[in-house]
């Protein structure tokens, strides 16, 4: 069974695709998302095999969304786009597939055929340029704030989710996993639950027992565990 997630900001477009996919007996649509943020959460939770992903979406485009996914658990992505501009050029000849809207059922069958055949994960290199993480999507009530990396002091994982700590001391919820953030942002892991932005580190204070804390430019304190103190110092070229 192929587990599929549909991501598109237009309800009718999602509906149309769902109906087209229903014709394939081995495809199971496990959910629909109306924007990239919801989709990140859903992908992290459900780990779908395939994501049908619209490119034009609110605030975070489908392309940018890829940079916010955990590279270890990357689903295979089929892009959907209304007009074949840059996107198509980028994927032409790569392992990626794309569908033009309105989707042609015949064309969709071919895509599914390929998906069944090529089970191994896709080559991500084609998207290298487009997939660099520059801002972290943070969800509030009905809003997405896109926080530029340079404004982030540290990131903390709590039982309730992952939070981005900004220079003003505010914490913002994000759907991105700590692993993804560590991979994509260049922040340093200093604790099992914390990442710190190396550009914002002002001071490392050593405490007894091999642990330490980092004071950030914004005045925040981030704990450093014994296990990560060495690597942190190495990254900051101390000693």
């Amino acid at each position: 069974m192929m587990r599929v997630l549909i991501v598109d900001d237009e309800p009718l477009a999602r509906q149309e695709l769902r109906i087209l996919l229903a014709e394939a007996p081995d495809v199971q649509v496990i959910g629909e998302c109306g924007n990239a943020i919801e989709a990140i959460g859903a992908i992290n939770r459900e780990a779908p095999d395939v994501v049908f992903l619209d490119i034009q979406m609110p605030r975070v485009s489908g392309l940018e969304m890829l940079s916010m996914l955990d590279p270890e658990r990357m689903p295979r992505v089929v892009f959907l786009t209304a007009h074949d501009e840059y996107a198509v050029q980028a994927f032409e000849g790569s392992a990626f597939d794309y569908l033009l809207k309105p989707a042609d059922p015949e064309r969709l069958r071919k895509t599914l055929q390929r998906l069944r055949r090529d089970r191994p994960p896709q080559d991500m290199s084609a998207l290298k340029g487009a997939s660099e993480l520059r801002r972290i999507p943070c969800t509030g009530v009905n809003r997405i704030t896109l926080v530029p990396l340079e404004e982030v002091e540290s990131i903390v994982s709590r039982p309730g989710g992952v939070y981005v700590v900004c220079a003003d001391g505010q914490e913002r919820f994000t759907e991105l996993t700590l692993n993804t953030l560590q991979e994509r942002s260049g922040f340093i892991r200093c604790h099992r639950q914390h990442l710190v932005n190396p550009d914002r580190v002002r001071e490392i204070r050593l405490i007894e027992g091999g642990v330490a804390e980092v004071r950030t430019a914004g005045g925040g304190i981030v704990p450093v565990s014994r296990r990560f103190l060495g690597p942190l110092k190495a990254r900051l070229s101390i000693e």
Binding site: E10, A13, E16, P58, A82, H83, N142, I144
Partner: protein, 564 residues
């Protein structure tokens, strides 16, 4: 032996002739220019002093000794110097020549020196008197010059009698020179002044004839070449130049061929044929004026041997970056001489035409730009919108065929409006129909996620504004506004009167407007520019934005447009 009176008169008049010939010759040179008008500039005064000192001294030498005296004509130089240059110049001329006379010696030396000084002063005082009365033109009257010189001679004779001793000898000499001096000096002064004013009126006539011609050509040819530098316009301009300058023939060429030829030789100088004369090709290649008068610089028609044209002036027409775009050529037949006035005129005309051609190109480029701006606004909507709309319709067909049918109608209404309106202007009603068709599609696309409110009173629907003013703004509100929201989007279009203006506002609840965000600015900037171009800088597009709450784009246009 003293000379007899009649001989004296005759020979003095004879010598007077030489004196006037010199004056006449000098009057043909630029040296005389400062003498032709009353000037307060010290350089002009200095020139006046120098020239009349020379004439005054020349007057002393032209003449013959009579006893201890000389029958001569320095009075002319002194009096005219004073008349034209003022008291200071008159006195200076008098003193300069007076010293010279004194050094020549003779029993009359002192008296004659004083005479000249007094005569210079007399001219100067007359100058001052007439200037203070505002009668400048009278200074140049030959009769006045004669009268003042006459008075000067009488004073001279009186001084001679008073100063020269023995009195008897003085009286005898004076009685001999009185008549010839009086006649020669008054006549000479009058003739001298006539030469001056003749010369002046000749110059004025020339320059006024020149200006008249130039102005007439400029007025008649105005705007002709703005319509384009082509054969039709060129031949009209050539006709005007031909009529106004009266030259033998006029030709206009571009870089390769003759565009127009009018006048003598038009039987074989044919418009449309390539340029054959090496002079023209040279003028184009070097961007230089070429003049062949037919004498010093040979000229021969390059097309036919028997061509009557004998001289030519070729002037390049300069376009952008001083690049040559063609030439204008004036010809005279072998039987006539190419006048310098026409030569100067030709160069002026070439400048005028170059400017016109440039202005015309600029205007056409502007018009093209305006055209392409509309095209840009039309094209900006196309592909994404179209395919998304078709995708939406494809989905709706399954569930609600009737609604799908309506959407197809909306889509065709939108594109018809988009493609068909070639005109520059539209009514607000037209614009709203366009926008409403667009919004019906977008609302279907975003299903429940887009609400639209249009609140425009019926009375405003006749207001005229540049076509495609509203749709790009509404499209922006959706593309960069509501479609970027996770929750529901709202777009509101309303119109309100403010004084004599109409304020059209398009509002979205995203509040994401950023100045110069890529792709955002272009459509809006064009709308703004077109409104300003049509209605002036008091009108245009303004944006208000409350971050994350609302973006409001306000178009201000006049309620009443004067029907064109």
């Amino acid at each position: 032996m003293l000379p007899q009176l009649p001989d004296l008169v005759a020979s003095l008049l004879q010598q007077m002739g030489i004196y006037l010939v010199v004056a006449y010759l000098l009057s043909r040179t630029p040296l005389f220019l400062p003498l032709m008008r009353v000037s307060v500039r010290w350089r002009h005064k200095l020139a006046c002093y120098a020239i009349f000192s020379v004439f005054c001294i020349m007057g002393i030498h032209i003449g013959m000794p009579v006893g201890g005296a000389r029958a001569n004509t320095p009075a002319i130089g002194a009096v005219l110097g004073g008349l034209l240059g003022g008291p200071v110049v008159g006195l200076a001329v008098g003193i300069t020549a007076g010293i010279h006379r004194f050094l020549l010696g003779g029993s009359f030396a002192l008296a004659a020196a004083i005479d000249i000084v007094v005569q210079g002063l007399l001219g100067g005082l007359t100058h001052r008197y007439l200037i203070s009365r505002g009668r400048v033109r009278r200074l140049f009257s030959p009769a006045l010059a004669a009268a003042i010189t006459g008075i000067g001679i009488l004073i001279e004779l009186a001084i001679d009698l008073a100063l020269v001793r023995p009195f008897g000898e003085a009286l005898h000499t004076v009685s001999l020179i009185a008549l010839p001096e009086f006649v020669a000096n008054t006549l000479g002064a009058a003739l001298f002044m006539s030469i001056l004013i003749d010369r002046r009126s000749l110059l004025e006539e020339q320059s006024s004839a020149f200006s008249t011609k130039a102005l007439r050509i400029a007025a008649r040819a105005d705007g002709l070449l703005r319509g384009g530098f082509d054969r039709e316009n060129s031949s009209r301009v050539a006709q005007i130049i031909y009529e106004e300058t009266g030259v033998g023939a006029v030709a206009i060429t571009d870089r390769e061929k003759i565009l127009a030829f009018i006048g003598i030789g038009d039987d074989h100088h044919l418009p449309g044929t390539p340029i054959s004369s090496p002079q023209t090709q040279d003028a184009i290649a070097r961007n230089e004026v070429f003049f062949a008068d037919g004498n010093e610089v040979a000229y021969a028609c390059s097309i036919r041997r028997g061509c009557p044209l004998g001289s030519t002036l070729v002037i390049p027409l300069a376009g952008e970056d001083r690049r040559v775009i063609g030439t204008i050529k004036l010809y005279e037949p072998k039987s006539r001489i190419f006048s310098t006035i026409n030569r100067a005129l030709g160069e002026g005309i070439a400048k005028l035409l170059s400017a016109q051609i440039l202005a015309g190109r600029y205007e056409r480029q502007k018009a093209l730009l305006a055209q392409s701006e509309i095209k840009l606004l039309q094209a900006q909507v196309s592909p994404h919108f179209l395919f998304n709309a078709l995708n939406t319709i494809a989905a709706v067909i399954r569930t609600d065929p009737e609604r799908a049918r309506q959407l197809v109608h909306s889509l065709s209404a939108f594109f018809r409006k988009n493609l068909k309106r070639a005109g520059e202007e539209a009514t607000l009603g037209d614009e709203l129909e366009h926008v409403e068709a667009y919004l019906r599609i977008e609302m279907a696309r975003f299903a429940g996620n887009l609400e639209v409110e249009v609140d425009v009173a019926e009375e405003f629907r006749h207001v005229r504004l540049p076509a495609f003013s509203l749709q790009p703004v509404v499209e922006n509100a959706i593309k960069h506004g509501t479609s970027q929201l996770l929750g529901g989007g709202r777009v509101r279009i309303c119109a309100a009167r403010e004084g004599r203006d109409l304020l059209l506002s398009v509002e979205d609840n995203a509040g994401l407007y950023e100045e110069r965000s890529p792709g955002d600015g272009l459509g809006m900037a064009i709308v703004d520019r077109r409104i300003r171009a049509r209605h002036g800088d008091a009108y245009g597009v303004r944006v208000e934005c409350e971050r994350d709450a609302v973006t409001r784009v306000i178009l201000r246009v006049p309620l009443e447009t004067v029907p064109a």
